[in-house]
């Protein structure tokens, strides 16, 4: 028996994409078409089996949202400005409130401009301070958050760079270290950063981080990394895939 329906409609049927009318139409067709019936059974088997796959429970340690972040602030795309504003409000009072309340109003008064500039500087310092303290947080996801905030600090000063390098070398969590490497890659025009990254190579034991560092060195075309990479190869427990990658990277750098 020739059937004008293509198999795709069965998938649409199972995933509940059909309109009421289409569904009824298809169901009545099913009664007459052995081919479609067979295909439906096969897809249904697959569909049911998929439904049996499980997902682990979300850790309850992460249940509560950070109340700090939830502080009511104005609608603005720069979240650090919002967060810092809460502090500054307590300290600076009205001036902060006025400034924050002006989404698109140009500053006409010169004294306000000065206040804005000084507050901007204060907010920048505050942002930095928060980020540095958050880097010490016991929760890995908080530390990751701290690292990701460095992308909002345009010119990283020595303090931030040092903190990031320390995290890269010492953080217990692989994901934190990976995020840190990622963040540091934004500052590779800074020679201290490049040096720090090269020095960090031999400290890394995780294959994920090792391979990410090899990629980073290649991206930076950092020939000074070669001795450190060679040293990594001497590690006893080195993962084969990573070994190949490092050898490849070395050959590309020399």
């Amino acid at each position: 028996m020739k059937c004008e329906f293509d198999k795709g409609i069965i998938t649409d049927y199972l995933s509940n994409q059909l309109s009421e009318e289409e569904r009824l139409q298809f169901e009545s067709h099913l009664k007459e078409c052995a081919e479609c019936k067979e295909e439906l059974e096969a897809q249904q088997h697959l569909w049911k089996l998929m439904g049996e796959s499980t997902v682990p429970a979300y850790s309850s340690r992460l249940d509560n949202l950070d109340p700090f972040v939830i502080e009511p602030v104005r609608k603005d795309s720069r979240s650090w400005l919002q967060v810092a504003a809460v502090f500054i409000l307590v300290v600076a009072g009205f001036a902060a409130g006025y400034i924050i309340r002006r989404p698109a109003v140009p500053v006409v008064d010169n004294s306000y401009k000065m206040q804005v500039d000084s507050l901007s500087a204060q907010m920048h310092d505050m942002r930095e301070m928060m980020m540095l303290s958050l880097l010490e947080n016991p929760s890995a996801s908080e530390r990751i958050r701290a690292v990701s905030y460095t992308s909002e600090i345009n010119t990283a000063n020595d303090k931030v760079v040092e903190a990031l390098l320390t995290t890269l070398n010492n953080d217990a969590n692989v994901n934190v270290r990976l995020m840190t490497l990622n963040a540091l890659m934004h500052y590779t025009d800074n020679p201290a950063v490049r040096e720090g990254l090269v020095q960090s190579i031999v400290n890394q034991e995780s294959p994920l981080v090792q391979s990410a560092m090899a990629d980073a060195m290649l991206k930076m075309q950092e020939k000074k990394a070669v001795p450190s990479l060679k040293k990594l190869l001497e590690q006893k427990k080195i993962n084969t895939q990573v070994k190949i990658k490092i050898e490849h990277t070395i050959s590309r750098l020399i």
Partner: protein, 177 residues
């Protein structure tokens, strides 16, 4: 003084609590990594707060959320590159071990393993589409929005993925229920 967008943020908090498990499930099904998925779930939430001005009606919350989740996933893949697979496999092995201690029928366990492998072998985008469609009750047009694709493209990929998965099963002779 300060214009408080209190209502806005509380609502978002509620929405997040309601959708958190679904978000985590999506990320976990994509990566197979539990801790990374938990961290990414948090990350999506922070992005939601940061860019909440881009969110309009509450009816589109799910699509907006998954759209952000995909971006977070992309960053995750960038950092972890191909070597992310190493972690995938070891997480997976752990689960198989604990499964073998359970009382479930061996054949079912094998089928689930095979399915897992088959799904992992799909391209990232095809995998996203099938997960969104199968587990999150999203219509094709919603998936299309999340994926930045046309509805036709989503449909085609969906049909193709299902055919691929089905064939993998038939080939290995595990078709019998």
């Amino acid at each position: 003084m300060l214009r408080v967008k209190n209502g806005d943020l509380r609502k978002m908090d509620l929405l997040f609590k309601r959708h958190r498990d679904a978000l985590f499930a999506f990320l976990f099904r994509m990566t197979g990594q539990r801790e990374a998925s938990e961290d990414m779930t948090q990350n999506v939430f922070y992005r939601m707060i940061r860019s909440r001005h881009t969110f309009t009606g509450s009816g589109e919350f799910k699509t907006w959320m998954f759209h952000l989740a995909r971006n977070v996933l992309k960053d995750h893949y960038r950092i972890n590159s191909r070597y992310g697979r190493l972690a995938d496999i070891s997480d997976y092995d752990e689960r198989i071990e604990s499964d073998s201690q359970s009382q479930g029928p061996v054949e079912k366990k094998e089928q689930l393993e095979l399915l897992q492998t088959a799904i992992q072998s799909l391209s990232t985008e095809d995998r996203e589409i099938i997960i969104l469609s199968r587990f999150h009750e999203l219509k094709y047009h919603q998936v299309a929005q999340i994926m930045d694709m046309s509805v036709a493209a989503v449909k085609t990929r969906m049909h193709r993925s299902v055919a691929q998965l089905k064939n993998m099963f038939l080939k290995s002779g595990k078709h019998e229920m």
